[in-house]
């Protein structure tokens, strides 16, 4: 849609109550009204785009620098690409990303196994620290879970035996 220019100075009453001191953004923002000139600043040089970079559709381009950690891959990558079709204001953007995060956990386990590494989930979850500093609670949680799992297994076995 073409924007029709209106000269504000021709609008009756324009600026009569303007008060530059009424600026609740100060000192967070040292106002210079530069944004009125739009996306016009002299940009830093562009970092070469050597990996796939998904960019928000609320901006026209990739920023001058960006992180190159973990480019999108696999099923989680496809979900992320889907999410980036939608604006940051849309659940269509965030929900696929949340789902992709969960999928990438499974992909991470597969990747570990492919490299011959079985993830040590207990160490990754810091159970050594739990054992040192919170032993009673850790033991209680493990026992409660063991009891619940045993009860569930016993219940299923009994049902299977009965049928």
């Amino acid at each position: 849609m073409e924007r029709k220019a209106i000269d504000p100075s021709q609008v009756k009453g324009w600026g009569v109550d303007a008060d530059p001191k009424n600026d609740p953004t100060y000192p967070m923002k040292n106002r210079n009204d530069g944004e009125h000139a739009g996306y016009s600043w002299e940009r830093p040089p562009q970092q070469p785009i050597t990996v796939e970079v998904l960019h928000s559709n609320e901006r026209p381009d990739v920023t001058s620098v960006f992180g190159t950690s973990t480019p999108p891959l696999g099923l989680s990558g496809a979900l992320r690409r889907l999410g980036f079709r939608y604006s940051e204001s849309s659940y269509g953007h965030w929900l696929p990303l949340v789902l992709a995060d969960r999928v990438s956990v499974a992909e991470g386990v597969l990747e570990d196994l492919k490299q011959g590494q079985v993830p040590n989930v207990f160490a990754e979850r810091g159970w050594k620290a739990e054992w040192e500093h919170n032993r009673t609670s850790l033991v209680r949680r493990v026992l409660v879970r063991a009891v619940l799992v045993s009860a569930a297994v016993a219940y299923l076995r009994r049902r299977r035996g009965g049928s």
Partner: protein, 384 residues
Amino acid sequence: MLAMNYRGPLRVRIDHKPEPEILHPQDAIVRVTRSCICGSDLHLYNGSVPDTRVGMTFGHEFTGVVEQIGEQVEKLKVGDHILVPFNIACGTCVFCQQEMYGNCHESNPQASAVGGIFGYSHTAGGYDGGQAEYARVPYADVSPTVIPEGMDLDDAVLLTDVVPTGYQAAEMGGIQPGDTVVVFGAGPVGIMAARCAWLFGAGRVIVIDCVDYRLEFARKYAPCEAYDFRSLEDPVLFIKRTTDFLGADVCIDAVGAEAAGSALQTVLGRKLLMQGGAATALHWAINSVKKGGIVSIVAVYGPIDALVPVGNVVNKGLTIRANQASVKRLLPRLIEHVQNGILDPKAMITHRVPLEDVSDAYRIFSAKLDECIKPVLIPPSART
């Protein structure tokens, strides 16, 4: 090099990763000397920030020695020992030009709502962070600052986030002499916000949390009144009663997405991830502040909606001020405060942990074990 490696919610480990390279003429590579775990890292650790990818290295509070510089870096030189503010800021965009260094428009392609942050998911730019032996630092001439001679490294590393964020929380509160300031959250940022509220002339400072040892620490460090909300009938009612039923002049939310205290918020925000975190503290802040009061938010929430009583914001005529701290803007003043002994950040560090034990450090901080206030990771090269 050794680097922290995120493997999924509540799972992190130390791994070998390739060393970072210069990817842009304004980059520097630093050898990390200190790297903290931040309370906001726990949002990533718990899996509540969208686009947190398996394989990423966290860490946005770090110091390091410059090892390499890009061809356009002029202010820093190899060998400088620097503190690296958590915001990645270009210094040239319209927002940086207005000193909003936490809102840079040239550092995060993935989201327009937040600038780039080291090691803070792809929603904040997809940069690997400083919980590693080495890190890539973009725009090295803009925010990174040479550590003043004689400054303790433990003070310096807390100037990258905790101190400026706590200070800005108080600053945004527009505190007037004699004001009553309530800080929700007795984590490192909340404690620092309470400490800094006095610098702006507060007449009374109250901290609300539910972790006894942290409340005790806040009482001594800030110093301030500190209350466990579990022992109060209702924290909002308590604030009203203790302020002649008017409410506090300023309320600060320094908790964010992991808040306890409301079953509904916990289920929706932390368990089902149906909102951008549990907004319990913000809910209390809005309801505890007086009519015409100010709510200052530095706590981190996810980008999805969160339930807060917005009707009360309107009906009470509140001003809400919020932002990521603009570290570069605040650093000169805060360095002065540390050098003059007004602020003592390093007193908050309770755990100095080898980088190799990152899984345990996360667990200790996350589960609030061993009376942990603030853990710092130390890479092997900085331990000799």
